[in-house]
Structures are given as structure tokens and as C-alpha cells.
């Protein structure tokens, strides 16, 4: 049996979902954003929610998410996605509303909006891409940048006296009465991708069931900002990011 024989619609195991557009993505080779986009698209297709979903895109590398997922989108000002999502969901309570935000967007400039939306228990899903850096603007330090980690605004590595501590915002969000589900995942292996997908699906279901705010943090790489190859970035993430941001559920009501 030749390869060409196998390549046959009848034998299809995995293909790009239709909810993902055909345009090439602008992300750097190996960027985690792509994987997460793909998962979200698959879930929307599987849940048959294309017609009921409104995504809120951040300012950050994922600002263009609206080009890649074939759903209605709003592009939010930097950090304000949870405010937009609050209004959208309150005015369209039977819709699936999610934000997609980076660590600069969600945990720096958007801290207040994130915490208050979660504390109000808005029935939204927050997908939080924690790559420990400001990818979009060229690799500056993020709130989640690890101690000692280099960035273009901590060229000799983050130090606490100069830059303060890395912020574990997800842990804070898990404390809030308004959150129903808070989890931390990654997408560097097939197993991780599968788990992350389940987590996002649960978050989406919670939004539809009006259970409160769900937060899915994806510990991610930004190989461009980290100045590594994609593979090396994955390894660095496992070795350095995971101990600081351990994977698993922080809350599941």
C-alpha cells in the first residue's frame, strides 16, 4: 500500500477545520498562538457554535485572530477585552463569548478589567496565552516574565528589585467568587494539546451554561521574543515556565 493509496478521504484522521480560514497566519514559525487558534476553531466546529460565537481579540500578536477564525470578532483596545466581553455577553446572553488575550494584555494593562469581569462572574471564557513576554512589540518584559529571564526591557534578566516579581494572575483569578473554572494548560505535545482542548471546551460550555467566568491559561512559547528555535523554546518552557506556572486545574466548580 503506497502513501498515495492511504491519502484518501476515507482514511482521513485529522484535517484543518473549516472554521479556520485558509489565509496564512502572520505568526512566527512555531508560535504557540497558532496551535491555540486551531483548537478553538475545532471546538467551535464540533460544538456547532459558529453562528453563536463572538470572539474578542486583544492587542498583542493575536490581534489578527479575527483573520484566522471564521467567526464574528471584536478587536479590543489593549487590555480591555474582558470589558467588551462583559457587555457583549450581557446583551446577548445566549451567545458564546470568549476573550483571547496575551499576558501583557491580560495581566498588565488589563489587570483591572480582568479581575473585575471575573469577580462579577461574567459568563465568558478567557483564553490567556502566557508566553512570558510582549511578543507583538518586540519582546519586552511582561508581568509573567520569570526572574532572570532576558527581554528587550530586561536585557540582563528580570530582577526583583528593578522589575518586581513575576505575577501569577491565574492564581488570583481562581480566588475570585465569580470564576467557576480556572485551569492552566499547554500545547507543546499531542497530549497537552488534547488536554488543552478539553479545557477550552469546558470553558465554552460554562459560558453557554451561564456558570460564571472560566479562565484557561495556556503556558506558551514566544520563540522570537525568547530568541530561541521553536523546539528549544518548548524545552525551555518545560524546564522554566512550568515550575513557575504549574499545569493543572486551579478551580473547577
Amino acid at each position: 500500500m503506497t502513501t498515495n493509496d492511504i491519502i484518501n478521504p476515507a482514511n482521513l484522521v485529522y484535517a484543518k477545520t473549516k472554521v479556520m480560514n485558509d489565509v496564512p497566519m502572520h505568526y512566527c514559525p512555531g508560535c504557540s498562538h497558532g496551535v491555540v487558534h486551531k483548537i478553538i476553531a475545532e471546538i467551535i466546529e464540533e460544538m456547532d457554535m459558529q453562528e453563536k460565537t463572538i470572539g474578542i481579540a486583544p492587542v498583542g500578536c493575536a490581534v489578527f485572530a479575527y483573520k484566522y477564525l471564521d467567526i464574528d470578532w471584536q478587536q479590543a483596545a489593549h487590555g480591555r477585552a474582558p470589558a467588551l466581553a462583559t457587555a457583549v455577553k450581557r446583551l446577548l446572553p445566549d451567545r458564546l463569548v470568549f476573550t483571547y488575550q496575551g499576558d501583557g494584555d491580560l495581566a498588565a494593562i488589563g489587570t483591572a478589567e480582568t479581575i473585575h469581569a471575573a469577580n462579577r462572574g461574567e459568563n465568558i471564557a478567557i483564553i490567556f496565552i502566557n508566553n512570558g513576554i510582549y511578543g507583538m512589540t518586540g519582546g519586552q518584559m511582561a508581568p509573567t516574565t520569570l526572574e532572570g529571564m532576558k527581554s528587550s526591557t530586561s536585557p540582563n534578566g528580570r530582577t526583583v528589585p528593578l522589575n518586581g516579581h513575576p505575577l501569577d494572575i491565574t492564581k488570583l483569578l481562581a480566588q475570585l467568587k465569580g470564576t467557576c473554572y480556572v485551569t492552566r494548560q499547554s500545547v507543546h505535545t499531542i497530549a497537552a494539546v488534547r488536554k488543552a482542548k478539553k479545557a477550552i471546551q469546558k470553558a465554552f460550555e460554562n459560558s453557554m451554561d451561564n456558570k460564571g467566568t472560566s479562565v484557561v491559561e495556556i503556558v506558551s512559547t514566544c520563540n522570537a521574543g525568547w530568541k530561541m528555535t521553536p523546539e528549544a523554546a518548548n524545552d525551555w518552557m518545560v524546564e522554566n515556565m512550568f515550575p513557575a506556572y504549574p499545569l493543572g486545574d486551579l478551580k473547577d466548580l
Binding site: 502572520h26 505568526y27 512566527c28 514559525p29 508560535c31 500578536c61 507583538m136 512589540t137 518586540g138 522570537a224
Partner: protein, 181 residues
């Protein structure tokens, strides 16, 4: 003397640093210089370009619509900038990966297969110096000695040992470049 140059290619081809070296060289020979990158939308994998002006007089606009010389290192850049070379001007391209080639007849067109050379000789790091060498062969706007001075000035001390290698690359480029029209 005034020379208005555009250098364009993929990000990662050293376009910006080639422009920088050129600007430094101008500085070394006492000229006014300007270096203006397309700092595009944090283009991930897009094209990059830089406008370099060397002039004996104060430079007015650092942003230009037409150029004395264009150096294009990929297909989209050729398509974008071929028409913007002034009549009688110079166009240099690296043929690697090109499927359509320049067609104008009122300008001087040169080809330099620096990518190919660099690939074959494991010299990716000096590729932009090879191209610069090619440029200087056909448009000797700065003296090689000022390029080396500029390099010295722009490189951190710990990289000064790389200068001879770069000088060699310039020579190679001078040999590689070929007029095609």
C-alpha cells in the same frame, strides 16, 4: 554627491544591518546620512526594507518615492521597487528563489548570487557584506576602508575580530556581481 538607496528583502536577510553599515560608512567619510527602516507592523515573516541616503548636504526628506539604487533580495521586493529606480539608476538583485526577473531597460541591472554562494560556502553570516561588496563594485559610493572603519565603530569591541572576515566578504561580492543588461 547624493545617493538614495533602497535595500529590500525578507526579514532575516540582514537588510537593516546592511543599510546600517552603509550609513556608518558614509558617516566615516564625513557625509550626511539617513537610515530609515520600514518598521512595518512587527511583520512576522514579512518583508523588510530600509532607505539609506548619503549626501554631501543636509538631507531633507528621509522618506523617498524613487531611488538611485535599489538592492532587492526577494521577489516581492523586486516587484515593489523595480519601477521606483530613477532612469539611469541601478538595480541589484540576488537571483535566489526568483521566478520573474527585472525587465526595465533604462536602468543598469546587476545580479549577485550571494545567497547561493553563502549556502555553498557556509557563509550565511556575511551574506549581506557580500552584497554590499557587489554594490561597491558597481557604485563605489563609499571607500572600502570607510566601510571597515564604520564596522569598527558600529560593532561592539568583542566582535572586532570578525572584521577581516567581513573584508573578505566584500571582495567576494565584488567578484560575484554581474551586469545582466
Amino acid at each position: 554627491m547624493k545617493e538614495e538607496i533602497i535595500i529590500a528583502g525578507f526579514g532575516g536577510q540582514g537588510v537593516l544591518s546592511m543599510g546600517k553599515i552603509l550609513a556608518y560608512s558614509g558617516l566615516m567619510q564625513g557625509q550626511e546620512v539617513s537610515w530609515m527602516p520600514s518598521y512595518g507592523p512587527e511583520q512576522r515573516g514579512g518583508t523588510a526594507n530600509v532607505t539609506v541616503i548619503l549626501s554631501d548636504e543636509r538631507i531633507s526628506s528621509p522618506v523617498l518615492n524613487s531611488y538611485d539604487t535599489a538592492i532587492v533580495l526577494n521577489q516581492p521586493s523586486l516587484e515593489r521597487f523595480e519601477n521606483k529606480v530613477k532612469p539611469g539608476g541601478t538595480l541589484i538583485f540576488d537571483g535566489n528563489g526568483f521566478h520573474k526577473f527585472p525587465t526595465r531597460t533604462d536602468i543598469n541591472i546587476y545580479r549577485i548570487d550571494a545567497t547561493e554562494y553563502a549556502y555553498a560556502n557556509d557563509a550565511a553570516k556575511t551574506m549581506n557584506m557580500i552584497i554590499l561588496g557587489g554594490l561597491l563594485k558597481v557604485r563605489p559610493i563609499v571607500q572600502v576602508e570607510n566601510v571597515l572603519k564604520g564596522l569598527k565603530k558600529s560593532l561592539p569591541e568583542r566582535h572586532h575580530h570578525l572584521i577581516p572576515m567581513n573584508e573578505k566578504a566584500i571582495q567576494i561580492g565584488m567578484r560575484l556581481i554581474k551586469k545582466v543588461n
